[in-house]
Symmetry: C2
Subunit: 233 residues, 2 copies
């Protein structure tokens, strides 16, 4: 199996980075191939712009998704994007490892999503959700946050986490491009807990990864539940 | 009234930019003061990092929120962040004008949120939601997207938009820092519609802005509904 870890934390000594390192070691030890895109270390450019395209279809007016399709065909996509896309296409499992910033991904990771998940390859036309361009691959979100578990849920102060705050990422992005989305691994209250509690999260994560094949992916829309204009059948 | 427009579109001739320009002209004409942060034009740096702080409290280990509080007190915050923070503090109404990328904000705007909404000023301790640091100000999200209106809703292919996909932004970010969040103005299917349909959206937006005072803000949690440990009372 090829594993790709997309990692986005500004502190190399962070606990979040320790989770990334653990996953990397775990999969190597199990005989898999692991690629890591450490976005801070790579000084990843998160800004989707005209500079991403060497071969403009429409030189005077930028429609980003349209230029993605055209430049992919013409091999005009910026080299940093093309390199990530190759890693992504080779991967069987993609892990997104990050601290939750504003109930979402850090901007540097949002910019990986904006620039790498290109139209025409990862989605396009009627190819999305279970028909998305990356179908057959799995995705795991591993995140740390400051909040406690009881702050999330239907009547909790922040509402639902997995089906609420994380919906644009899990459903609107990862499931949208056809990835099978595994239940996320979540480290709560990380900045405030004792070393022993952090150790326990590492133990739990190791077990989680060991038993990954037994997890049931989250259930998202299937294209055959909708008609050609995307109204529910 | 002071209006601040945060704008994030890579194409200066885009319809999305026309919405921004319309709002700017509308409020100036009505006698208000308008500041615009055009993030692409400013070449805004979206990456939260150690480089944002001149006076590190903990030089060897970066805890971003902790350095935000410390550096705000010590006037060590990066000048680009400090300038945006001043604009934000002066504003009575903040408009976020952007195209929806992956059911969320473009990375360049996520980086404005990550870096400018600093701990200790915009939120902190028990000051969030209706007690957030920016209480008394209003926020309006104005967005354009490719999807059609019928693709959103409880049984629709993408689920709810305002209370679903936009939750981390509207509730988890804008309401969290105390802003009164107005119902967003949404331009659907923009890349695919005729010029007349785009004209109609501009007319609708002008009316929306003219009647802004009559809009009821969205309802989000109030701190007095929760106890000191943030369990529901």
């Amino acid at each position: 199996m090829n594993v790709l870890i997309i990692h986005a934390h500004p502190e190399a000594k962070s606990f979040n980075t320790a989770l990334m390192t653990l996953a990397q070691a775990h999969f190597i030890e199990a005989g898999h191939t692991v690629a890591v895109s450490d976005l801070y270390e790579m000084n990843w450019n998160p800004i989707a712009s005209a500079a991403d395209f060497a071969q403009r279809k429409s030189p005077d007016y930028l429609v980003y998704a349209l230029e993605q399709r055209h430049n992919y065909e013409q091999q005009g996509i910026a080299p940093d994007i093309a390199a990530e896309l190759e890693k992504l296409k080779a991967a069987d499992l993609v892990i997104f490892n990050f601290p939750l910033y504003w109930f979402s991904v850090p901007a540097i990771l949002k910019g990986w999503i904006d620039r790498v998940l290109i139209s025409g390859v990862c989605y396009g036309g009627m190819r999305f959700y279970d028909q998305g361009g990356l179908k057959g691959k799995k995705a795991l979100v591993t995140l740390t946050l400051g909040g406690r578990e009881h702050m999330f849920g239907q009547n909790a102060i922040h509402g639902e986490l997995v089906d609420g705050m994380l919906r644009p990422l899990l459903r609107g992005t990862l499931a949208y491009v056809g990835l099978e989305v595994l239940p996320p691994f979540i480290g709560y209250h990380v900045p405030y807990i004792k070393p022993e509690a952090r150790e326990q999260i590492l133990v739990d994560y190791k077990n989680y990864l060991t038993n990954l094949d037994e997890l049931t992916p989250l259930r998202y829309p299937h294209m055959d539940e909708f008609d050609g204009k995307l109204y529910p059948k």
